[in-house]
């Protein structure tokens, strides 16, 4: 009634002005603001980085443990006592009969041997793998040209060879039917492959029949022998348990089966432990952030008594002072959250880069982080804001 009579408007603080005042107050001392918000920076960074790394690792786990890798079992001798008898074809037949085995075969991985296109050409050195048709079915080389060795080649010790594309290019061999010399012995190239579905070490090797591999082994050297098994999905652990007994019933403990960990369990473990760490770290950092903001804001209320008194003197109501202080602490939360999200993103990217992972970042995580730090700033500002409303305008005149 009186205001209208006197031609005076109601005191007000527009939202735009409120936001501007909050931002200006935070930016007035950017360094101090950032130090005040350091807790929320760390909280948001921990939140984003741990969730980012967790997502990246989960992706990596699911990427690495794909169907092919998860259905592969490798059996190797567990010490010299195993001998080579377990490697016999009759044992492999028993293994292939197990329920859940899709393919199985033996390999002999020879030391690096010289391979050349002509007998007098300068050779390139490469690993040579002797693999029977069963092992080839497990490895599943992707042929660019030609065919795989078959049972005939295996039984007749045929000197045929498959070349990885990288080796074929070094030898300048681009078609089948050409001869190469392995350790001085002639072989006919029957295929060139550029990928394998299992055992990626074959990508830098040449493959010969397993029986020929035995012949190529220098008399004074040992070779790594193994049996590789391709299983049906979900059967890898079972086959790993049964394979040593199938291959060497009289002494299964002399063989060791290597199976991939269950990807679902591993993934759950990774996600679970990282998520727990993330939660604990984030909560601690955000609690520190809230305390830091509340402490700094409370201290600043005392330091800014003249300013607050001035604002009251020039027409600011208690609610305006309350809103402004809350706006400032919330802006600090937003600032801390934003810087923290950037920091967390960089950490995630660097960790991924070091581990050669593909970083997986979710925009929602960043938004949630900024939302949480804003809420932390808001809550942290309640007490200082309430304290500020008790400052009388006379305070402006007294200092």
């Amino acid at each position: 009634m009186y205001l209208r009579d006197l031609g005076i408007a109601k005191p007000r603080l527009r939202i735009r002005d409120w936001a501007r005042e909050a931002v200006l107050s935070v930016l007035r001392y950017p360094g101090r603001s950032l130090m005040t918000a350091v807790g929320t920076v760390l909280g948001a960074a921990a939140f984003v980085a741990t969730l980012g790394i967790s997502s990246t690792m989960s992706w990596q786990v699911s990427d690495s443990f794909d169907t092919r890798r998860a259905t592969e079992v490798r059996i190797v001798p567990d010490g010299p006592a195993a001998g080579t008898g377990w490697f016999a074809e009759r044992n492999l037949m028993r293994l292939r009969g197990l329920n859940g085995v899709a393919a199985a075969g033996r390999r002999i991985v020879l030391p690096e041997l010289p391979i050349s296109r002509g007998i007098d050409d300068r050779p390139t050195r490469s690993k040579v793998i002797g693999a029977d048709p069963g092992a080839l079915a497990v490895m599943a080389p992707q042929l660019v040209i030609g065919r795989l060795p078959d049972a005939y080649h295996e039984e007749h010790h045929s000197r045929v060879i498959l070349l990885a594309r990288s080796i074929a290019e070094q030898l300048r061999i681009f078609q089948v039917g050409m001869a190469v010399f392995v350790d001085g012995r002639p072989f006919t190239v029957i295929g060139i492959y550029d990928d394998v579905q299992r055992r990626p070490e074959a990508l830098l090797s040449a493959i010969v029949p397993a029986t020929v591999g035995d012949q190529l082994l220098p008399p004074d050297q040992e070779a790594d022998r193994d049996v590789i098994v391709g299983t049906l999905p979900g059967a890898a652990q079972l086959i790993a348990d049964q394979a040593p007994l199938s291959l060497r019933p009289e002494a299964p403990s002399q063989l060791r089966a290597i199976a991939p960990p269950d990807p679902r369990t591993l993934r759950r473990e990774v996600e679970g432990s990282v998520a727990r760490s993330s939660l604990i770290l984030s909560v601690i950092a955000l609690a520190v952030g809230a305390a830091s903001i509340a402490n700094a804001a409370t201290a600043s209320v005392s330091a800014r008594t003249p300013e607050i008194g001035l604002r009251r003197a020039i027409g600011g109501r208690r609610i305006h002072i309350f809103a402004q202080l809350l706006g400032e602490t919330t802006a600090l939360g937003v600032l801390g959250g934003t810087v923290g999200v950037l920091l967390g993103t960089v950490v995630t990217a660097v960790v991924s880069m070091i581990n050669r992972w593909t970083p997986v970042l979710d925009l929602r995580t960043a938004l949630v982080a900024v939302g949480i730090t804003s809420a932390v700033g808001l809550v942290a500002g309640l007490w200082p804001a309430l304290k500020a409303t008790r400052i009388q305008p006379v305070a402006a005149l007294q200092r």
């Binding site: 408007a9 300013e307 027409g315 005149l397």
Partner: protein, 220 residues
């Protein structure tokens, strides 16, 4: 314009202290009034009550005919913010904001739009001879310039009364003279000026002088 009737103010925090006793006073529109007195005499208390920064313990205070004792906080704040302007000895300018932004701050809670505030701030700074320093940070201004920015802040919203608490207390004689000239000029344009000072020379520039001693106000 401003009318005190039997106003008293007693501070009751701790031992009771009587700061003002039975003050009856009328200040008309357009007056230039100086309030002087020794330290602790009650002159700042009188200014606080006149400026609606404090409430009297006794008596009545009318502003433009309106009895202020029964007003709620919102109306008192509105009266204070739009009828009155304040100039302080310590300037109370916010560092990190330009002179123009500091002047605009004085109108923050009023009815003006941001563009109106900007225009009024520049006009007020021009009026104070600071048209070329509108973007300057107060920390880079001299004491005299800071006080002129503070005066610009106080007058930019077009108040009817300007309250000045020791406005020249931190200034040298040359700047004191400049500020007093500006205040006299504003008064000549119709603005009521109430200035509190312990400096007789400053008080001497006013057309009316009040002396506060032991909480009692007398005219000279």
């Amino acid at each position: 314009m401003l009318a005190l009737s039997g106003v008293g103010r007693t501070y009751t925090e701790g031992a009771p202290v009587i700061a003002l006793r039975d003050v009856t006073l009328v200040i008309d529109q357009g007056e230039y009034v100086a309030v002087t007195g020794p330290s602790g005499s009650g002159k700042s208390t009188l200014l606080n009550i006149l400026g609606l920064l404090d409430l009297p313990s006794a008596g009545t205070y009318r502003v433009a005919g309106v009895e202020t004792g029964a007003l709620g906080d919102r109306v008192r704040v509105a009266l204070r913010g739009q009828l009155f302007g304040f100039v302080f000895q310590a300037f109370h300018l916010l560092p990190g904001r330009s002179a123009a932004e500091n002047v605009e701050l004085g109108m923050l809670y009023g009815p003006w739009s941001p563009s109106e505030r900007r225009a009024r701030a520049h006009a007020a700074l021009n009026r104070m001879g600071l048209g070329k320093r509108t973007g300057a940070d107060p920390r880079r201004l001299s004491g005299g310039e800071r006080q002129r920015v503070a005066i610009a802040r106080a007058i930019a919203g077009g108040p009817r009364v300007l309250f000045c608490d020791e406005p020249t207390g931190n200034l040298d004689s040359e700047n004191t003279e400049n500020v007093l000239d500006l205040l006299a000029g504003l008064n000549a344009e119709g603005l009521t000026v109430v200035i509190v000072s312990h400096d007789a020379e400053v008080a001497g520039r006013a057309r009316r002088q009040l002396v506060v001693r032991d909480g009692t106000v007398t005219e000279t």
